[in-house]
Every structure is written in structure tokens, then in C-alpha cells.
């Protein structure tokens, strides 16, 4: 198998975790050695259920961790939260995955999401009140914006091994944020320093050449976080994340090593969204099972709706295309004949089948898109039952991986991951 990049084509929650787990645990082809994270941070919750019923929502560790010996690498594009790493490793240990920390490498240039960032994030969201952006409360935006404003002072993973430098950066960070927002609920720098030093002495910190070496040694799965429709530049501003959620970061890491990968887009047969923002096909009347997503204090409720082919095509366009589709939740679709597909919008009296991509990095354009979407009505049609066929028609990409349930045993595959061509 070649390298694969897994990206969610919606608002997240499409099933990246289960797809990554399947890619890492399949028996055919050369075994995957490592999962690389290339965006987001500990806010991720990529659910995996093993054949024997164990469940874990992967946050910082790669969703391939249940597969024996599969490493996780947090690249320089990931926001690393050492405290979350410790807690997650402990949970994995309780599930019988001992030594997860031994399988983790972290790029020294990766930004640290600290308790100060998180406290500032929450203070700001509370101040916004009803106008919340749907932040996860994990300090992701705070971490990214501080690094943009103060690139030299932003704490990075490598600093954990340089205690005096780390202490200075943490104190500066705390002083700046409290100067702006008032006192923050967070431990003193010395205590954070102590935990981060323990992190550095336990987890292997590496530089960029490490990934290049691993990429040459065997197949790697790049696990995206969140979804293309939440992308910082291509999502519906301001209801977005501070992270590039397309294939771009992964492609950059691959290019640095002179390598290529299959671009795999993941989508459900219906749509979901956590928190506020445009959701044209939302249908509160749908009652679909959702075992692993509930209401979150910082994001608001979990929303459900019908498949939005217009948004799906937009996501594929702004992500610069996909080689193949992984289609998940086919079991839900089979049981819920009330699920529709939206192939066009009614917006300002006009019919719209394509959401045009704007110029790169034009947030005004994205804001106008948001405004338009909030006033748009979906036009539904009957999918006719064969979801894989429908998706292939709408996207022009083969649905090579089909998931009918939570475990790896519930997946069927065709080329390049299976032995036969797609039945469709």
C-alpha cells in the first residue's frame, strides 16, 4: 500500500478514526508503520471501536494505535498538549494498549497548547455569550493566534527539553494573556514546566528529517483532524477552526520527503455538525443513532441533517480534489429511508448547484458565503437506496472504502485497498 491522506469532507465526525484504524489493521499489503497527524490538536475525538468492543476517542494519538506497533507522529503542524497526551496514554493503558508513549514522536517545532491558552480561550468564549464560534475550549485558536503574533515567544514542543527557555516563554505568555484578559484559571509556570519536562524526558522529540526517513521506510497514514468545511480559509467564516483542514499540510510534508500519497476523502451518507454555523440540510426531525457524540459545554449541541452534495462538491473543489472516497455510516443509511440528498440550493430565488470557490485567503468572500448559506434552502431528492453509486455520481470519485459499522470488520474495500474493483 502507498501512503494515504485521510481528510474529512464535511464538518468533522465523518469517521476518520474508523477509516484510519481500518487502514492500519488490514492484513493485505505492506503494514502501516505510522500515523502522522498534520493539523488541529487535542480537540480531535476520532472514535475507534475494536472488534472486541473496546472504544477510544483518539485526540493526540493516531487512530491506528490499536493496531499492533503502529506509531504516532505529531508533525510541526499539530498543536500539542502534553497534559492531554498523558491523560490519553493513561486511558489507552486502561484499554490494554500499554506503552503508547513509547510509540509517540513529536516534532520539536510543533506549538504547545498550554493551560494559559485554554483558560484564555474559555474566557473569550464566555465573553462572546450567544455569539460563540463553536470553539472546543481546548485553546486551539488561542495557541495559533499567539504564535502568529509572537512567533519567537510561542512555546514549542522542543522547549520542553530546555527548562529555562520554557519557563521564560510560559511566564511571558501568562503575563501577556492576563494583561489582556485579567487573571486566568491556570497553574503557575513552574508547575507546568515540571510536567512538560517530564513529557520531554518520556516522549521522543524529533526534527523534520525523522518523518522523511519514516516515509521512505514504509506506508504511512496521514490522519486529518476536523473537516474541510471548517478550514480556516475555506470554511464558512467565522464559524471555522484555526487550522488548515484540507490535504495541504500533509502534501507539504510528503513533498519535503519526495513522496506521494492517495488522497482519501471521508463522508457519511448524511451530515452532522458540532456547534453553530451554516448547515443548510440540518433536519432536527431526524433521529439517527450517535453513540459517541453528545452535547459539549463549549461547542453546543450535535446537529444532524441530510447529505449536502453541493457542500460536498465544494469541499472537494477547495481541497484540490480527491483520488477516492471512504463512505461511512452506510448501516445508518440502510435503516433510515427518510434520508434525502440535497443536489441544489434555493438561494435568493435562484437555483444553485455549485458553491463557487472564492479567491485564496479571502475571508470577506467566505463571510459572504456564510451569509448566503444562512439564507439558503435545500432542494431534496430521493437517493434511491444505492448510496455508494449516488456519492460516486455526485463527486466523480470512486467510493473505494465502505463502512457499515464501527469496527474494522464492518468495512468493505475495492482498489487500491481491496482485491476487486468497486461493485458500483
Amino acid at each position: 500500500m502507498n501512503h494515504v491522506i485521510v481528510v474529512d469532507l464535511g464538518y468533522g465526525d465523518a469517521g476518520k478514526g474508523t477509516v484510519v484504524d481500518w487502514l492500519c489493521s488490514r492484513q493485505e499489503g505492506r503494514p502501516v508503520r505510522m500515523v502522522v497527524r498534520f493539523n488541529g490538536g487535542a480537540q480531535a475525538a476520532h472514535n475507534v471501536v475494536t472488534r472486541d468492543g473496546r472504544h477510544h476517542a483518539f485526540a493526540q494519538f493516531g487512530a491506528g494505535t490499536f493496531a499492533s506497533g503502529v506509531r504516532t507522529h505529531l508533525s510541526r503542524f499539530v498543536l500539542v498538549d502534553p497534559l492531554a497526551v498523558a491523560a490519553e496514554a493513561a486511558h489507552l493503558a486502561s484499554l490494554g494498549v500499554a506503552g503508547a508513549l513509547d510509540l509517540l514522536t513529536v516534532d520539536r517545532d510543533a506549538l504547545l497548547a498550554t493551560p494559559y491558552h485554554q483558560a484564555a480561550n474559555r474566557a473569550r468564549e464566555l465573553a462572546r455569550g450567544v455569539g460563540r464560534h463553536g470553539s472546543c475550549g481546548m485553546g486551539i485558536g488561542e495557541t495559533a493566534s499567539y504564535a502568529l503574533a509572537h512567533p519567537q515567544d510561542a512555546p514549542r514542543a522542543g522547549d520542553c527539553a530546555a527548562p529555562r527557555l520554557l519557563a521564560r516563554k510560559l511566564a511571558t505568555l501568562r503575563d501577556r494573556l492576563t494583561g489582556e484578559l485579567g487573571p486566568l484559571v491556570a497553574p503557575p509556570p513552574a508547575h507546568i514546566c515540571d510536567a512538560y519536562r517530564a513529557f520531554a524526558s518520556r516522549v521522543r522529540l524529533v526534527d523534520g528529517s525523522y518523518l522523511a526517513r519514516l516515509l521512505r521506510a514504509g506506508p504511512v497514514v496521514f490522519e486529518g483532524a476536523q473537516g474541510v468545511l471548517l478550514d480556516e480559509w475555506r470554511g464558512f467564516h467565522p464559524y471555522t477552526t484555526w487550522s488548515t483542514t484540507t490535504f495541504a499540510n500533509a502534501e507539504q510534508l510528503l513533498a519535503e520527503a519526495g513522496q506521494q500519497a492517495i488522497r482519501l476523502g471521508v463522508t457519511r451518507c448524511h451530515m452532522t455538525r458540532h456547534g453553530p454555523g451554516p448547515f443548510v440540510t440540518e433536519d432536527p426531525g431526524l433521529d439517527l443513532p450517535e453513540p459517541h457524540n453528545g452535547r459539549n459545554q463549549w461547542q453546543g449541541s450535535f446537529r444532524t441533517g441530510h447529505l449536502d452534495a453541493v457542500a460536498l462538491r465544494y469541499a472537494i473543489e477547495v481541497a484540490d480534489g480527491v483520488d477516492a472516497i471512504a463512505l461511512t455510516h452506510l448501516d445508518t443509511a440502510a435503516r433510515h429511508s427518510e434520508l434525502r440528498i440535497c443536489r441544489s440550493y434555493q438561494a435568493a430565488g435562484r437555483s444553485l448547484t455549485r458553491l463557487p470557490a472564492g479567491p485564496p485567503r479571502d475571508l470577506d468572500y467566505q463571510k459572504r458565503l456564510t451569509r448566503m448559506l444562512l439564507a439558503t434552502r435545500p432542494v431534496y431528492s430521493d437517493p434511491g437506496g444505492d448510496w455508494a453509486h449516488v456519492i460516486e455520481q455526485e463527486t466523480g470519485a470512486p467510493a473505494v472504502l465502505r463502512s457499515h459499522g464501527p469496527t474494522a470488520a464492518d468495512k468493505t474495500a475495492s482498489q487500491p485497498f481491496g482485491s476487486s474493483r468497486a461493485a458500483a
Binding site: 492531554a84 472546543c136 522529540l205
Partner: protein
């Protein structure tokens, strides 16, 4: 996405990283053990540094440190710092395929753990060996420990592809604060390592054997009982010439070792190496600069000469 379910506590996290097996704790000692961990037992074993597909040109690096009582808190500090060594070497390109082994030296005349030896590893697995090292804290009060027994093991029980295939010596660092006994004792070799040797071996002879395959350094750190001790320094300079390093700040131990290797590999000169340290924000550059003053001695790029023909002679001309 969107969980926050790994709600985290800074104190829990620190404890969890330290509690996890491996690098961060002298787990074996703290677990109440009083004997050498079976994986580190030097009896009837050899340690090999071999090339592999992934690491076709391995370079053997061994770091052995004195764990007797005179070293005070130094061994624990070393344990916390040494896991950074591999990353430093790779990050700066000082060595392309380093294989690192850690070990510990006690006193064969009275300790239960006179010698502990880990495996050569190309990834961070050797850090697990660090956690297995028994910190006995014993030793006698005579400013002498069993370094010679460790040197015997390194001379006759290590096998290095870098040396055997490419004629290139590995790097051996001994961190301690005392002197060696004058002879490798036959009875101790039999008891600890399991070899039958015909007679005791003079120290100078075993040092000569070691230096055929190892470029050997002695590091005397601040914070140990005999830091800056003239007698100890003179003793090791007689055996190893310029390769005796006084380390003023234990925090800089990895940087010092890494830079020494970088200089030896001619990957850098001293000024470049110190600039590397400053570039990554390391606060160790002044300490390292001082520690390596004798080795760098303002000459710029160092010439790595072939091993000397007569290695038994103290202060041999093996390095400019």
C-alpha cells in the same frame, strides 16, 4: 472532534509521565530492586552495534556512568538528561546513524551491581535501559571504583560494525568522579562477566585495548563528591590525554557529548557547534564551550587521526 474529554491536570500529567515505564524514572531502583536487572547483567553476554537496512552505517556510542554514592544526585540528573542525546545528534546532523548504549559502573569490591550494560539501540529503546539501571549508591570511601572492569567489558565484549567494517572507532563516554583500580582482577572478571582470564590485567593494557575500537572520554561533572579533584583529573589525563572533560553544569551533559561526537565526526567545528546550540535556544553553550576548550583548543575543525599504533602509552597522539 470536540471533546475536551481529556480534561487534564498538570500534576496528574507530570506523575503519569514519570510513572510510565522507561525513560523518566530509575524505575528499577525505585521499585525496591537490589540486584542488577536481568537485561543489564554483563555476565556471559556481548553487546553488538550492527548495521541494518534502516541504519546502514551505524556509529556506536556508549555512555557509562558511575552510580556509586560519591556521585550524589548526579546519576538521577543524568537519567533525566540522557534521553535527549539521540535527538541532539540527529537534529544537528552530528551523526547519521548513531547507536547508543547506556551502562552503569559500581564497585566490584563491595557492591552488588559492579557493572550494568544496556543494548545498542538506534531509537529511544535504550532509554528503557536507563530506567532499569540500579542506583546502588555504594562504593568504598577510597576515591576508587571499578572503572577497569567496565573497560574490560567494553574492550572484549562489544562488537562494532563501524569498527569492524569501516575501521571507524565508536565513542565511549565514562562519567564519574573517581579513579580506577590499577588492575582488572581475574576473580572479578570471572564473577561479574563470566570470563576465565589467566591473570590480572594492568589498567594501561586494558585501556589500550579499549581505545583500539573506542574513542574514549572521561567526563568529571560538577555536583559529584570529587568534582574538580586534581588527583582524579591527573589520573585520567595520564590514561586518556586530552579526552578528559570537566563539566561545570550537568544540564549540558548531552550537548557536551553530542558536540564532542560532532567534532570527532568532523561534522562541525567548535564555533559552528556552539552556534548550533545558541540557535536552538540552548543555554548550555557557555558550559560546553568551556568543557570542550581543551578538545577544540581554538583549532577549528579537528582532524580525526587513525588510532595510534601504541595505544597502551598514556596521552597517545590520537587526536589533535
Amino acid at each position: 472532534m470536540g471533546s475536551g474529554r481529556w480534561s487534564t491536570d498538570v500534576y496528574d500529567a507530570a506523575a503519569r509521565f514519570r510513572a510510565a515505564t522507561g525513560a523518566s524514572a530509575f524505575g528499577h531502583s525505585d521499585g525496591g530492586a537490589t540486584t542488577v536487572h536481568p537485561l543489564l547483567d554483563p555476565r556471559d553476554v556481548a553487546r553488538e552495534s550492527r548495521d541494518s537496512g534502516e541504519h546502514p552505517r551505524s556509529l556506536a556510542i556508549a555512555v557509562l556512568f558511575d552510580v556509586t554514592g560519591s556521585m550524589l544526585q548526579v546519576p538521577r540528573a543524568l537519567q533525566a538528561k540522557l534521553p535527549q542525546l539521540l535527538g541532539l545528534l540527529l537534529r544537528h546532523g552530528y551523526a547519521e546513524h548513531p547507536q547508543i548504549m547506556f551502562g552503569a559502573i559500581g564497585d566490584a569490591t563491595c557492591d552488588r551491581a559492579p557493572l550494568q550494560v544496556g543494548q545498542f539501540e538506534s531509537d529511544n529503546r535504550m532509554d528503557d535501559d536507563l530506567g532499569r539501571i540500579l542506583l546502588e549508591g555504594g562504593g568504598g570511601g577510597q576515591k576508587t571504583e571499578s572503572y577497569e572492569l567496565a573497560l574490560y567489558f567494553m574492550a572484549r565484549h562489544t562488537f562494532l560494525d563501524c569498527h569492524e567494517k569501516r575501521g571507524k572507532r565508536g565513542y565511549l563516554f565514562i562519567i564519574g568522579d573517581e579513579m580506577a583500580y590499577p588492575r582488572v582482577k581475574r576473580a572479578e572478571v570471572r564473577r561479574v562477566i563470566g570470563d576465565g582470564v589467566e591473570a590480572d590485567i594492568p589498567l594501561a593494557e586494558i585501556v589500550g585495548e579499549v581505545r583500539r575500537k573506542w574513542d574514549a572520554y572521561y567526563i568529571l561533572p560538577e555536583g559529584a563528591s570529587y568534582a574538580r579533584d586534581r588527583q582524579v583529573l591527573r589520573f585520567w589525563r595520564n590514561l586518556l590525554g586530552q579526552n578528559v572533560i570537566e563539566l561545570a553544569d550537568l544540564d549540558a551533559v548531552c550537548e557536551t557529548i553530542a558536540l564532542t561526537i560532532g567534532l570527532g565526526e568532523a561534522a562541525i567545528d567548535l564555533d559552528e557547534g556552539l552556534a548550533d546550540l545558541r540557535d536552538v535556544g540552548s543555554l548550555a553553550s557557555a558550559t560546553v564551550s568551556k568543557a570542550l576548550a581543551t578538545i577544540g583548543s581554538g583549532r577549528g575543525t579537528l582532524v580525526v587521526a587513525a588510532p595510534p599504533p601504541d595505544l597502551g602509552r598514556p596521552g597517545g597522539n590520537f587526536r589533535l
